[in-house]
Amino acid sequence: MLEKEKLTSNQHNMLNKTLHISTSPHLKKGVSTNTIMKNVVLALMPAVLFSIYSFGINALLIVLTAVISCVISEHILCYISSKKSTISDWSAVITGVLLGLILPPAFPLWMVFFGGMIAIALGKFVFGGLGNNVFNPALVGRAVLQAAFPVAITTWFPSFSPTRFQEVSSSVLTLPFMEPVFDGISGATPLSAFKFDHVFASNFDLIFGNIPGSTGETSAIFIALGGIYLISRNMMNWRIPFTLLLTVFLFSGILFLINDQLYPPPTFMLFSGGLMLGAFFMASDMVGSPITSLGVIIYSVFIGVLVVIIRVWGGLPEGVMYAILLANALSPQIDKLVKTRVYGTVKEKVKS
C-alpha cells in the first residue's frame, strides 16, 4: 500500500511537469535541407578528387579558393545586411565547389576569388539568398568571368601533365588585377577541336577524362557516380539529368543520322564539355528548376535542345552554361503555366 502511494505521488510529480506543445504533425521525416546540401557536396567529391588527380595542385587550389571565396562572401553579406549568417546551410560550399569545377585548370586564383564573390552576391544574395535565386549562382559567377576574362577562361591546360603534383602553373598565381601569362598551354578541348578543327575525341577518353577541359568537367563517369548517389538517396530529381541527357542524345543522334560527316556522334555530345556536370549538378539544382514533374521535363528538354543548337550551330564551342541559365529564367514561368490537376477537379484551363 505504501509502495503504491509512493508510486502515485511520483507519477503525480511527473504529470505536473510543464508539457511541451507544438502543432501537428508531430513526426518529421528527418531529412533536412542542410543534410541534402552536405550530401550534394559529398556527391561532388569523386569529380573533385578526379580533377585533382588529373590537373594536380592547380585544381586543388582553384576549388579551394572558390569555396573559400563563396563562404566568406556569404558570411560578410549576411553580416552587412544584419542577417543571421547562412553559411551553415552548406549551399555556399556547393556553389564554391561547382564554380571551381567549371573553370579552366590554369585559371588565375584572384579571378576565381572574384568569380566566387560575384556568384554569391549577384547570383544569390541580391535575390534574397537561398531558395529565392532565379539562376544557378555558380553559373552566374562563371558567366561574369567569361565576359570579363575571355582569354583566361578559354585557355586550357593539359591533363595528366607529369609535373602536376610538383608545381603550380605561374598563371594560377598571377597577382590580383594582373594579366596572366600562360605557359605550357595545350591545344583545344574536344568541343572546340570539333567546332573549329572538326576532330572528335574517342569515347573512352571522354568517359575517363583523358582530355583537356575545365577542372571538374572532364570525367563523365565520376560525375555520374555522384549524381547516381544523390538520386539513390532521393535527394535529386532523376527526371532532370535523365530527360536532359536523353534529349541531347536523341537530338544529336538524329543530326548524326542525317549527316555523319557534318555532325558529331551522339555519344561524343553526351560525354564532352560541361554536359554531365551541368545535367547532374546544375540543371538539377532544386531552386532553379520547376517544381512539378511535367514542368521539370519541359525544362530539361529545353536545356537539351538548346545545348545541341549552341554547340552545333552557335558561335561558341560550349552551350551548357547559357542553356541552363536561360532555362533557370524560364522555370518560374513554366511553373505558372503547368498547373497540375487538383484532386476532385476537372483539368483547369491554363491561365496565363
Partner: protein, 447 residues
C-alpha cells in the same frame, strides 16, 4: 510520383508505423475514475442540452444532456453516481465549455440502463437514424461528426456504396485494428443497420495491408447472408481520410468541395459501426470507447476500453509515464493535437493518446528557406502545391490562396510538413490561412 497502383490514391507518405507495440494487446477495461467530467460539446455541431441538476443521482447509461437540434447528439452518463457540479471545463481546443462532473458510486455494480431497442427488421430508415442519434454516436475515428447526419442521404442522391473505414493510417494507433479483431459480430450487426439506414447496394470494408490478420478474421466471421467485400489496400498515409479511401477502393474522386455522397458513397469508421451494432439492439447510449494509449513515454501501453469523460490526468497516472515525458497528443501523431492541459477528458472522438519523451518530441529546428525541392508536391494527396501556398501564406495572400490554389481543399493531413526538409510549418500556415479565409467570408456575409 507515377501512380502504377490502381488500388491507391496518388501521392501520400510512409511515416514509421510503430503499431507493433500495441497491436497484439487485447482491449482491456480501464478502471473507473473517481470523478468523470463530461464536456457537453464533444461533437461537431450544437452542444448538447443539459437535463440533470447538481446533486442528482444518475445510473450508468442515463441521459445527462439531450440533443440540441438535428446537428447534435445526446450525452449519456458513463457511470452510476451523483452529479457533483456543472461548471466550465477546459477542452482540447483551449476553449472552455460546460461540463458535467459525475462522481461514481464506489460500490456500484455499474449495471447499464437498458433503453428501447431499435428493431433491425421492422424499423424504418428514419427510426434507425433517430436511434443512432439517440445513442449519441459520432464518428469515432477522430472527427466526431454526428453519424446520423452523415448517414442521411440527401434527397435526389443515392447511396450505392457503404464503405467501412478500417484503415487507421495514423502511426501508433491500433484502436480500429483491435476492434476488428475483437468485435467482428458487432461490426457485422452495425453494417446491417447501416445498410438499412442508407439503402446501400454494396458494402466494402477497407483495411490496410498492415492489418492482414484483421481482414482474414473478418472474412472468417462474415455471416453467410451478408454481402460484404473485405478489401485490403497497400499501406499509405493518409488513406484513412474519406476522400483518399474512396479513391483507393472505387477509383473515383470526390469533387472538390463535395461530399462522398456525390460519388454515391457513405464512409463510416469501423469502430463507429461496431458501436452502432452493439448499442442499437439494446437502445443504449454510448458510454465508453476503445483508446490506444501508447508512445515511448507510456509504461503500460495498450488498448483500453475507457469510460467517456475519464480525466486525462487519471488515465496517465494509471498507465504510468516515464520521467522525461514531454508531449501528450490526443489522436495520432500526424493529425492529433498536443495537449496543453491534462485536466481535459477522454471524449467520444479520442481514438488514441500518444505520449512522447523529450527524445522523440520535435525539437526547435532551424527553418530554412524553401528550396523548391518539390517533396511536398509529391506528398500532397489532394495534389496541391504546398510550396507555392506556403510562400503565398507568408505574404498573407489568403484570398489568392483560396481562389487560385485550392487552399480550402486542404484537409490538413500534414504530409507536406512531414516531408519538408526546410522544416517549414506548412500545414500550420494552411490552418491559419483557412481560418482567416472562413472568417473573411462570414464577415462579408454578415456585413
Amino acid at each position: 510520383m507515377l501512380n502504377f497502383n490502381k488500388n491507391s490514391f496518388k501521392h501520400g507518405i510512409h511515416p514509421p508505423e510503430h503499431k507493433d507495440e500495441t497491436n497484439q494487446l487485447p482491449i482491456r477495461q480501464f478502471p473507473f475514475a473517481p470523478v468523470v467530467i463530461l464536456p457537453i460539446s464533444q461533437h461537431i455541431g450544437a452542444p448538447s442540452e443539459i437535463i440533470v441538476r447538481e446533486g442528482m443521482e444518475v445510473s450508468r447509461g442515463q441521459l445527462l444532456a439531450k440533443a440540441n437540434g438535428y446537428m447534435s447528439v445526446p450525452l449519456h452518463s458513463p457511470v452510476s453516481g451523483i452529479v457533483r457540479k456543472i461548471t466550465n471545463v477546459p477542452t482540447i481546443s483551449g476553449k472552455m465549455t460546460q461540463g458535467i462532473f459525475v462522481e461514481a458510486f464506489p460500490f456500484s455494480t455499474q449495471e447499464v440502463l437498458e433503453g428501447s431497442p431499435i428493431d433491425l427488421e421492422n424499423s424504418t430508415q428514419e427510426e434507425i437514424l433517430k436511434g443512432i442519434q439517440d445513442a449519441g454516436i459520432v464518428g469515432l475515428g477522430g472527427a466526431a461528426f454526428p453519424t446520423h447526419v452523415k448517414l442521411k442521404v440527401p434527397e435526389g442522391k443515392q447511396c450505392e456504396y457503404l464503405i467501412i473505414n478500417g484503415i487507421e493510417c495514423e502511426p501508433f494507433l491500433t484502436t480500429d485494428h483491435r476492434v476488428m479483431l475483437e468485435q467482428a459480430e458487432d461490426i457485422f450487426m452495425g453494417i446491417r443497420y447501416l445498410i438499412r439506414a442508407t439503402q446501400a447496394k454494396k458494402v466494402i470494408i477497407g483495411i490496410e495491408a498492415n492489418k492482414q490478420d484483421a481482414a482474414d478474421f473478418l472474412i472468417s466471421k462474415k455471416p453467410e447472408d451478408l454481402q460484404v467485400e473485405i478489401k485490403v489496400v497497400p499501406v499509405k498515409y493518409p488513406q484513412g481520410a474519406e476522400k483518399m479511401l474512396i479513391t483507393s477502393l472505387l477509383g473515383k474522386e470526390v469533387p472538390s468541395g463535395g461530399l462522398p455522397i456525390d460519388v454515391q458513397s457513405v464512409v463510416v469508421n469501423v469502430a463507429t459501426t461496431a458501436e452502432i451494432g452493439r448499442l442499437l439492439p439494446h437502445g443504449r447510449g454510448i458510454q465508453e470507447r476503445v483508446v490506444t494509449i501508447t508512445g515511448p513515454a507510456v509504461k503500460k501501453k495498450g488498448n483500453y476500453l475507457i469510460p467517456i469523460g475519464t480525466p486525462l490526468r487519471y488515465v496517465l497516472e494509471e498507465v504510468g509515464v516515464e520521467e522525461n515525458i514531454s508531449e501528450v497528443y490526443m489522436g495520432g501523431p500526424m493529425m492529433g493535437v498536443a495537449v496543453s492541459n491534462l485536466d481535459i477528458s477522454i471524449v467520444k472522438g479520442t481514438s488514441g493518446i500518444v505520449v512522447f519523451t523529450d527524445k522523440e518530441a520535435k525539437k526547435e529546428e532551424t527553418i530554412y528557406p524553401c528550396i523548391k525541392c518539390g517533396a511536398c508536391v509529391d506528398a500532397c494527396p489532394i495534389l496541391l502545391n504546398p510550396s507555392k501556398l506556403g510562400i503565398l501564406a507568408k505574404f498573407e495572400a489568403y484570398d489568392e490562396m483560396a481562389s487560385n490554389h485550392h487552399l480550402m481543399d486542404c484537409f490538413e493531413c500534414g504530409s507536406c510538413s512531414y516531408v519538408c526538409p526546410s522544416n517549414i510549418p506548412l500545414v500550420q500556415y494552411f490552418r491559419l490561412s483557412k481560418t482567416i479565409v472562413r472568417k473573411r467570408k462570414t464577415d462579408k456575409q454578415s456585413a
